[in-house]
């Protein structure tokens, strides 16, 4: 080992080290241009000059080539050294005055202008490129030729190099940008690697992460293009990785796993429209698939959320969406089913495109039927019309070039038969989803049965169970569906797999361990503030750099950092490191809302060894950037205020003790329909005790009146079987005529009182209380004419094969009765399919029967489309009516006369039918009392609200409460059953635990302030406070005591107390007052 000093600081390094390396080891910065770790030192640029003293001799020398020796004294900061470097820099800049990198380096050294004029080169002859090509790539495509002013970097004989691999390593190391075009060396244009995640819209490096949130978060090497893996040369990345993480020897492995069940969730690929010539995809640059457009809209996408045309990079002002591309078609190369998600996806894209481009964006959506049957989707489609989008019911005939500028002409046929042409800047093909051949091969290998359209063939009552025992499936593979439903089905498959595996639950589990928490209660606050861009969501509106700069000036703020997505795994890991590195003891994240993201960041604090209550969020997205989009300056100011308020509170935060309570492993399921029974069985089969409360005297609910499922199976026998299973299950107790009357407690320990004062203690609750059909009052003669039925009545009549059904010569269905109107602005989802199925059943009974379906949009989504096709083939007549012009029903000669305006003829038509079925809305029961008891919000229509529409579709916002079936939103039986299973999986995440951690933000008594006046006891809505007396200093001291389990931290006590004797931890009066003060500081 060698001992030397650098700027008087001693350092010990190994022999053979250069002075430059020793200085870097000490953290002393020496500028250099020609040095590159891993390449032979060259001493070419001379910028790294230092002063070395060996013995009595002192000299200026290039540190990159000077080896260390014992007793060497190095100085990097003397005036002589700096002057000498400045002179060298001056010469380099004089040679290459136009190179930005040199200009910047010169500026840092105090030089603004080159001392000599006339330089025209952009190469400083540092030789890095040549060394790189020779030493690491072992190629030698370039070399140095000539001497003095003729010296140059060239290929042999000045010809294109035959050995160059166009790897670009030379360009990578070039400090001046001299080697920019590798084609000049090889004669071959390098082919960029297209970014697969952005559907090839931009490029990526050879070592890359597929997308920022990828799991695991480590980058991967594209081995098909890696020089080291292909030839053994290069190895540059291993050399530069300070963590030593690169391992070229890794190979694919075949791993054998012993498992008790397999869940298939292979997903889908978007349909490739290049085979459908009429749309021009593939040869017209401005025709995009919906996935390409989606990536373009994404803030993390190829253009940072900016929408630009492939042909000229111009922002489009007029965009067309073409629905149903490759779907709902019997044509060659297309698919007969409906993909379910695409109508809504197009509507969403239009709304977001308008947000990006501005309110003047001309949006046209060419659709066949607008299929928006999920919760709140209908309102969304109404909203986009209000924003000026044109929804055009039509078939697109072709997309062709309109002029030479890349514009597109769309020819389409309207409903009335007219042919129109219109020019657009850009067209989006809303493509559906396709199960890939690889997935079909996998299914065949596993021996599971597929449907006609090669989706998984499942039964309605077992929606995630395949034909092979132990194999379950979910997601798009089970039939086309959108995100909430795939998420829900994922949970359902987990539940189905967990039932047979219940005995081995938890045997392979590892517990997450957190490091011990640092004691920072008394420490001076050192606050870290992390400001989130949330892609464009925040960063696209407010000025983040300005905010960061402002926050740095707030007292006690030790560290500020901006993140692109703070919640991504790599960002939270990086934040943990920053907390440790800067010794932070309070953390503020300025991002979205604590309702969804606080737990993620609190976990991050615990990982960093901090108490999770030392955390505060500033809501600068939901409550700032999203609601002040047009006022960026005012929004930026508000962000600063919100962060200042959060910091003010963070200063006063204290670590809180965690409270753990045991979990009661019993479930209560409210509602004894198919959904409730399935949930109860799902839980009971996993080994938990279940109480099933049904308000009526028998189980079965609405399903008792259903005839068959959409796949054709009879409902009756299956419901009977379900009832029998429930009644005989040893873990299930059924309570009939039981209504929830009183509820107390929280997740893990609820206490519910049912009718007849029956008290159930349970850890979770599943609400599955169903819904009911809307019963119109006098509309379409319902209730006035005996032959006007509701959909469920017709089911029953078909089941019983009544005379009037068998003898009917003509029947009609009217769709959307009581649905999709201002009073009930939602689609009831089941009715289109239900009517089409019943129409087919009637045709089966009597093929000569005239069957009419009067509809607004035919929403036979997913594989149900096949029945719509079949019904038309079998002669069922579909007549579309407009909401503004509904059919008129009157009695005529004992029959029913219906007058409706035919959408194709454009004329009124008279129909005479024997039976009329009204497909009426599904309306919620009186949900309000139950909603109030369990504190679950209802939406405007009275359905229960889930915690998150997409990612927590069966969880209520209140912990430990789950929702399934019609009480959440109208849906067909199969989806209700899947939801019921999903709730049993979600509930098991609580029931499988022995104890739960409760929130510690509850009331704490400050004994010295409390004199036992007991004002707070009456104020407490949870009866959590009791008055106690104890002996203190020889006298009786009155005070109050708070039950940790009962207290919810509402703070009514705190607001009532006249003596500051009780405070909610984490929301103390001082903490709230600090926020008030901070808010008003710059009013």
């Amino acid at each position: 080992m060698v001992k030397l000093t650098i700027n008087d600081r001693p350092v010990v390094v190994s022999e053979g080290t250069t002075v430059l390396e020793a200085a870097r080891h000490l953290g002393v910065n020496i500028p250099t241009l020609c040095h590159f770790e891993g390449l032979t030192p060259y001493g070419g640029c001379r910028v790294c000059l230092v002063e070395v003293t060996a013995g009595t001799r002192t000299q200026l020398t290039a540190s990159c080539t000077y080896p260390v020796s014992d007793g060497l004294a190095v100085r990097t900061d003397t005036d002589e050294v700096l002057e000498a470097r400045r002179f060298v820099m001056d010469l380099l800049l004089s040679r290459c005055p136009e190179v930005p990198a040199l200009q910047e380096m010169a500026r840092q050294m105090g030089l603004t202008e080159p001392g000599f004029s006339g330089g025209e080169s952009d190469c400083i002859l540092c030789g890095k490129c040549v060394r790189m090509c020779h030493e690491l790539q072992h190629v030698g495509a370039i070399g140095v030729m000539g001497r003095g002013i003729k010296r140059d970097i060239v290929t042999p004989f000045g010809e294109f190099s035959k050995v160059c691999r166009t790897c670009g390593a030379c360009a990578f190391v070039c400090p001046t940008g001299h080697i920019a075009d590798i084609a000049k060396i090889s004669g071959k244009t390098p082919r960029p690697k297209l970014n697969e995640f952005n559907v090839g819209l931009n490029t990526r490096g050879n070592i890359y992460k597929l997308y920022p949130q990828a799991v695991p978060a480590a980058p991967a090497i594209d081995r098909n293009n890696c020089i080291q893996l292909l030839t053994g040369d290069c190895g540059l990345c291993a050399q530069s990785c300070t963590a030593g993480a690169i391992d070229y020897s890794q190979k694919d492995e075949t791993v054998d796993l012993d498992v008790g069940a397999v869940i298939l969730a292979p997903g889908y690929k978007p349909f490739d429209p290049s085979g459908l010539e009429v749309y021009g995809y593939g040869h017209l640059p401005n025709v995009y698939t919906s996935l390409e457009f989606e990536r373009m809209l994404s803030p993390g996408g190829p253009f940072g959320g900016h929408i630009q045309r492939r042909s000229d990079g111009r922002e489009p002002k007029k965009i067309a969406w073409v629905h149903c591309v490759g779907m709902r078609s019997e044509k060659e190369g297309a698919h007969p089913y409906c993909s379910n998600f695409c109508c809504m996806a197009s509507l969403k894209q239009a709304i977001i495109a308008r947000e990006h481009i501005g309110p003047d964006l001309d949006m046209a959506l060419f659709y066949m039927d607008m299929r928006t049957p999920r919760k709140d989707f209908e309102k969304y489609s109404v909203r986009i019309k209000d924003q000026g989008a044109r929804l055009i019911r039509s078939r697109v005939h072709s997309i062709t070039p309109a002029g030479p500028d890349g514009d597109l002409e769309i020819r389409y046929v309207t409903e009335e038969g007219g042919v129109n042409d219109e020019t657009f800047d850009l067209a989006v093909l809303s493509v559906g989803g396709v199960v890939t051949p690889e997935v079909i091969a996998l299914a065949n290998r596993l021996g599971v049965k597929l449907s006609h359209n090669r989706f998984m063939d499942t039964e309605c009552f077992k929606p995630v169970t395949t034909s092979r025992p132990g194999v379950y499936s979910c997601g798009f593979f089970n039939g086309p569906k959108d995100i909430p439903q795939t998420v829900m089905e994922g949970s359902a498959a987990a539940a189905a797999a967990a039932q047979p595996l219940a005995p081995v639950r938890g045997t392979l589990m590892r517990k997450k361990e957190f490091p011990p928490e640092a004691d920072v209660a008394e420490a001076e606050p050192r606050i870290g503030v992390f400001v989130c861009h949330c892609g464009m969501n925040i960063g696209g509106v407010v000025d983040i750099p300005d905010i960061v700069q402002y926050v740095q000036g707030i007292p006690n703020v030790e560290y500020v950092q901006a993140n692109l997505f703070s919640c991504s795994q790599d960002a939270t890991s990086a934040m943990v490191e920053k907390i440790k590195e800067h010794g932070l003891n309070r953390v503020v994240v300025a991002a979205c809302t604590p309702s969804t993201h606080q737990p993620i960041f609190q976990d991050m604090l615990r990982t960093a060894g901090l108490n999770k209550y030392l955390f505060e969020m500033a809501n600068i997205r939901n409550q700032c950037s999203w609601v002040h989009q047009a006022e960026p300056e005012a929004a930026t100011l508000k962000c600063k205020d919100l962060i200042r308020m959060a910091v003010a509170k963070a200063r006063l935060l204290e670590p809180l003790e965690y409270i753990e309570v045991p979990v009661n492993k019993t479930a209560l399921v409210v509602g004894g329909g198919v959904t409730g029974m399935t949930a109860a069985l799902g839980l009971a089969d996993q080994g938990y005790r279940v109480h099933l409360a049904e308000r009526k005297a028998r189980l079965g609910g609405n399903a008792l009146r259903l005839h068959s499922t959409w796949r054709g199976g009879l409902v009756g026998p299956r419901v009977d079987l379900l009832i029998a299973k429930v009644m005989s299950h040893p873990n299930i107790t059924v309570h009939y005529k039981a209504i929830v009357e009183k509820v107390s407690g929280v997740v893990g320990n609820f206490r519910t009182t049912l009718s007849r004062n029956q008290v159930i203690e349970h850890g979770i609750v599943v609400i599955a209380i169903g819904a009911e059909p809307y019963r119109p009052k006098g509309e379409f003669l319902y209730g006035e004419h005996p032959n006007v039925l509701l959909a469920l009545d017709l089911d029953q009549e078909i089941s019983e094969e009544t005379e009037r059904v068998k003898n009917a010569q003509a029947v009609a269905f009217i769709q959307c009765v009581g649905s999709r109107n201002p009073e009930r602005p939602y689609c009831s989802k089941v009715c289109c399919s239900h009517s089409v199925e019943n129409a087919l059943k009637l045709k089966e009974l009597n093929p000569d029967m005239e069957v009419y379906v009067l509809y607004r949009d035919m929403r036979t989504y997913g594989e149900r489309e096949m029945f719509y096709t079949l019904a038309r083939e079998q002669g069922v007549i579909f007549i579309r009516y407009k909401a503004a012009d509904p059919p008129k029903v009157a009695e005529a000669n004992g029959r029913l006369k219906i007058e409706v305006r035919d959408h194709i003829l454009g004329k009124p038509v008279d129909l005479e039918v024997d039976l009329l079925t009204l497909a009426t809305a599904i309306v919620p029961h009186q949900n309000a009392p139950l909603a109030e008891l369990y504190k679950v919000p209802l939406n405007a229509e009275g359905f229960f609200t889930e915690a998150h529409a997409k990612i927590r579709p069966v969880d209520a916002p209140t912990d430990g409460i789950y929702l399934a079936g019609l009480c959440h939103y109208p849906k067909p039986l199969q989806e209700s059953v899947a939801e019921a299973l999903a709730t049993s999986a979600r509930a098991a995440t609580i029931l499988s635990k022995d104890s739960l951690m409760l929130e510690s933000t509850i009331s704490r008594v400050i004994d010295e302030n409390c004199d036992g006046c007991a004002f707070c006891i009456d104020a407490c809505p949870f009866k959590a406070i009791t008055l106690i007396e104890y002996m203190k200093d020889g006298g009786v001291k009155k005070t109050v005591e708070v039950s940790e389990v009962l207290c919810k931290g509402c703070g009514s006590c705190m607001a009532t107390c006249p003596k500051r004797g009780i405070m909610v931890a984490g929301f103390t009066l001082d903490q709230l007052a600090a926020q008030v003060d901070a808010a008003l500081e710059v009013a």
Partner: protein, 68 residues
Amino acid sequence: MSDYDYEPLILAFLCNWCSYAGADLAGVSRIQYPPTARIIRVMCSGMVHPNLIIDALTKGADGVLVCG
């Protein structure tokens, strides 16, 4: 912007379980409103001590909203 030059600064104490969630939902729905409200999250509107409101008004807030 409003037709008036004067935008009152309003301090809003919002309940975590309802109105704060409502303010979040306003964001999700992109409902636009003047940027002069400052929201303080409380676990229940019941915890807002009268002194907090008086303090806010005396220290310069133009209005205080307690919502829950």
